[in-house]
């Protein structure tokens, strides 16, 4: 089923290389690790990023509630729906769109506080991931603080599903081949990435030949 775009939160803080968005904790439509999202960049332009961390902040009351034998469902609902304890999503900037052209470069500016953050639709994912030659992957690979192999696997899994929904059946294979080329001089990371991809996409044949 094709994924539609939907609003997932608002910007809390930002920089050129990424931003953090906050949202209420909701079971349905919870943003996913590795998902491609966008934030506004002036009129009709967007910054694209991949969710690489999702945190749910605890607080004193929640810590107190978990010490009891059981928590009343209405108390759980109260904490999830009413209390301002946001889920925080950390997003790595991987490109931007300006005047209808997609660039796999860092954006020229950072998005602004309280800007709405949107999960990209399948069409948007396909458009971004097919622009150029996977140049955006280098933003993931050069950052040692990220869970690189898992992030790539999660992103490729979701992006492949989006591309397949739109008829791009070979996207996953092309992405894997590009990763192999980018990591040919880093055997350790390459093996980790391929291992993660194999777990995420068992149907894909992966080879480093």
């Amino acid at each position: 089923m094709e994924e539609q775009t939907y609003q997932i939160g608002r910007l809390l803080r930002s920089g050129i290389t990424g931003f953090v968005a906050g949202t209420k904790v909701l079971v349905q439509e919870a943003p996913r690790f590795g998902a491609l999202v966008r934030a506004p960049l002036g009129e009709n332009n967007s910054i694209y990023g991949l969710i690489y961390e999702i945190n749910i902040e605890d607080d004193g009351l929640v810590r107190q509630l978990v010490t009891t034998d059981s928590v009343d469902p209405s108390v759980i609902a109260d904490n999830r729906e009413n209390r301002n304890v946001p889920m925080e999503m950390s997003v790595l900037a991987v490109g931007y769109r300006s005047s209808e052209i997609i660039h796999h470069l860092l954006p020229p500016r950072a998005p602004l506080s309280l800007d709405l953050i949107w999960r990209c639709s399948d069409e948007e994912v396909a458009a971004f991931t097919n622009a150029g030659r996977f140049g955006y992957l280098r933003h993931l690979l050069r950052n040692p603080d990220l869970p690189v192999s898992e992030l790539i696997a999660a992103h490729v899994q979701q992006a492949q599903a989006a591309n397949r929904a739109l008829g791009n059946l070979d996207w996953g294979q092309r992405a894997a081949e590009e990763l192999i080329a980018l990591l040919r001089d880093d055997y350790t990371t390459l093996m980790q990435v391929l291992g993660a991809l194999a777990d995420a996409l068992p149907e894909m044949s992966l080879s480093n030949e």
Binding site: S74, V75, D78
Partner: protein, 392 residues
Amino acid sequence: MPLDFLSLKKQIHDKAASAPEEMLRLDELRRKARQILKENTKKQDFLRAKVEQAAKLDSFLRCAVPQREDLDSAYPLPLVPDSATLIAADGSQIMPSRHEAVTYFLVNVGAIEMQLGSHKVPSTYVHSDLHIAEYSAQGTFTEEFVSLERDKEERTLLAELARKAQTSPIITLTDGPLELWGGRSRDREEESHFVESLNEYLRALETLHQLGAATAGYVDKPRADLVVRTLEIALTPQGELKDLRQKHSLRGVTDTDLFLPLLGSGQRSALFAIQSQLAPKYAGPLALHFFYLNVGTETNPWLVRVELPAWVAENDGLLDSLHASLVAQCKIMGKLSYPYVLHRAHELAVVSHEERQQLTRMILAELQVRGVGVGRVSFKQAAKELPGRTRR
């Protein structure tokens, strides 16, 4: 300059030297008080009559008035009602300050409504009431004025929400005594404002009465000696009641000292009415009562005082629902035995420092846009707000 810790260390040592002896003295007094309670446990009529006589001689007398239950009785925890509407409200405020660039005050009341026995998401409410001025027709906006407004608005919001509640019984809670504090000022404006506020407060209580709601004020860690004072009255010879203000043979003993050993986990004490200067204002079904409640465990007991009006105290069904719901709410918080709904109401009401600053900026901006001259922050306040203070 930092605290003079060298001098303080010596002061602590000197003052603490007498603490063990004082503790022994108090322990002996507590034993005596408990014995007097036991001896008078079935003398409700005698004690009521004596309190009445003492109150006629001194209307400022504040003590407990025994009702029908034995004074040292303990009532077990009833079953929690299968369904009920539980509503708690709390108020916070920004006090007027002459040091700010503009004088204003804010009363912020938060409330939460839970449907017991259902999985529904509780409803939350916040009501913010802003006043921009130094005084009104009623008088200068003092801290007492603002506190009265806050207490009144808490109860008014509760009545409003209770009116719309759909599940019975309705249980409403606020933090603190049920009795509105004030009415002791010699200032005519303040006294007039108190009377007006009290009348509004009583109207809200009457609404809750008409709705059949079990309304209560919750006092955590009570330090009162209401029942102890009644025991002192019992010890005072008839002819010396006029000098009661000088008679405090059990001074230092609190009601908690009396009831803590008597109440097991979840148990409540006997019901008492309150004798106070303003108690006659709460007449008939609104008459003020209280009981003590152990919301802790058998190994870690914790006493609170619950104040309630007569219409709840005299209705076993409402009383039991209130009793059981309070203990259940405290259990939600684990070791911090305090009703969950009251804590949430507080969270909704509290005004942070940043919110206060933001509100002040908004008011100043609006006034300036309208060409209204505003004052300046006092130099005292400005100096306090200087950033980067790390040394004194």
